[in-house]
């Protein structure tokens, strides 16, 4: 073919993704499209600034302060912003409360939508084909794999994040936690309890 000689000047993309990603970063950097220190800032944001500890503080405050809880249920983005948790993928947050009658769980069947400012980046299982496919058709079987059993009379309500709303589950406050401080309560709130694949537990 006429362009053969041209093609032979090129190697195939390296199988090593580290090298391949470095090549793109280098090319974009040399041309001024990206700055490596700005990429560092993105990584720092997700490794150190946002994550499920933010969401746990929100939940603990909602357990401790009925007025805050009401604001959270009315407009979760505004309520979380009161604690300084706001930003991309949290612009239209909705908090859904677990009650005696309803257990909520959150999925994104079409991609991997997740409330970054309060939970950080999603865990691998949340992005897995298994979770994305099964959560809507057999949520109880999925919950069992997380060690969560929901009574068959109770509604399991799955939220499929198909639009730009992002969901935060407000887990039920564990019994026997009266008098605990917000900090102590926050320690009881797991990441999974805010996705709905876990429950908050006092021990």
């Amino acid at each position: 073919m006429p362009h053969d000689s041209h093609d032979h000047d090129h190697t195939d993309p390296p199988s090593d993704l580290t090298l391949r990603v470095k090549a793109l970063e280098t090319a974009l950097t040399r041309k001024g499209y990206v700055a490596p220190e700005a990429i560092d800032a993105v990584i720092d944001t997700f490794e150190n600034k946002v994550g499920p500890r933010n969401g746990a503080k929100v939940v603990a405050k909602a357990w401790s302060d009925p007025d805050f809880k009401q604001r959270l249920l009315d407009d979760a983005s505004a309520a979380c912003a009161e604690l300084g948790f706001a930003g991309q993928q949290g612009e239209q947050l909705k908090a859904v409360e677990n009650t005696e009658d309803v257990h909520n769980m959150v999925v994104c069947t079409l991609c991997s939508c997740y409330p970054w400012p309060v939970l950080g980046l999603p865990p691998s299982w949340y992005k897995s084909h298994a979770y994305r496919s099964r959560s809507v058709i057999e949520p109880r079987a999925v919950l069992e794999e997380f060690g969560v059993s929901i009574h068959e009379e109770k509604e399991v309500r799955v939220w499929d994040s198909t639009a730009e709303l992002r969901y935060l589950v407000l887990p039920a406050r564990p019994d026997g936690t009266d008098g605990l401080s917000e900090d102590a309560l926050a320690d009881l709130v797991s990441r999974d309890s805010m996705i709905g694949t876990g429950v908050a537990s006092a021990g």
Binding site: K31, A35, I43, T109, V142, E164
Partner: protein, 222 residues
């Protein structure tokens, strides 16, 4: 494309949930670089979230399924950077074979402060629309049975199914048109609650439900 493997709700065969204790934010250093590249080069790629999703969905199904998560992001982005003329295959090749590239600044990159400010500010997906709402909270609606060739956020498992509107969220950018840059075409967004038995048949638990956020154009009266 819409009827592709990315639309996973209700599909069988993917096995148990792959749980991992004490998972790090990034398993490999390159994964964080990919996310960082996405969030910093985006200003120059001039894409949008719907176009980005659509490009991922157009990958061959076997690739979509076999790529690691951030690998999928990366492959899409590496291609977009070339398609949109930010970098050339020759430039990438130079680095692959161990050479550096000369500095040749043609653009201004986002600074770390820009990145932090953009993250904090978020985006605004809401749009004012003047047309009255076609549906009301409490109303029963049917998700249309449509199979568009282009991007859509109406999952297959809900098509043709009947549910009840439980929330209304005003006008929002419409992904189906935004994905192809043919306009934001804002449409009213609703949350629709479907019973598990409506979606999956009589063997499902009659108490269980699935809530899906759907734009007005995806819905019709019953």
């Amino acid at each position: 494309m819409s009827n592709t493997v990315h639309d996973m709700g209700g599909v069988h065969g993917y096995g148990p949930i792959p749980l991992e204790e004490n998972e790090p934010v990034f398993h490999e250093t390159w994964e964080g670089r990919v996310l960082g590249l996405m969030m910093t080069a985006s200003a120059h790629l001039k894409g949008n979230i719907d176009n980005t999703r659509s490009e991922s969905e157009m990958m061959p199904p076997e690739k979509y399924l076999n790529y690691a998560y951030y690998e999928r992001w990366f492959v899409r982005m590496e291609k977009a950077c070339q398609t949109k003329g930010l970098v050339t295959a020759e430039e990438l090749n130079e680095v692959w074979v161990g050479n550096d590239l000369p500095e040749n600044k043609v653009a201004d990159p986002l600074s770390p402060d820009d990145v932090r400010r953009n993250f904090k500010a978020g985006r605004n997906y809401s749009r004012q629309i003047d047309t009255p709402a076609q549906f009301a909270v409490g109303e029963t609606v049917r998700a249309k049975n449509i199979n568009p060739i282009g991007h859509t956020r109406l999952p297959r498992y809900a098509r043709g199914k009947v549910g009840v509107i439980t929330g209304e969220h005003g006008g929002q950018i419409f992904p189906d048109t935004n994905a192809t840059f043919s306009g934001e075409g804002p449409e009213r967004l609703y949350t629709v609650r479907f019973t598990a038995t409506e979606l999956w048949g009589p063997d499902a638990n009659p108490n269980d439900t699935v809530c899906i956020d759907l734009w007005e154009l995806y819905l019709e009266p019953t």
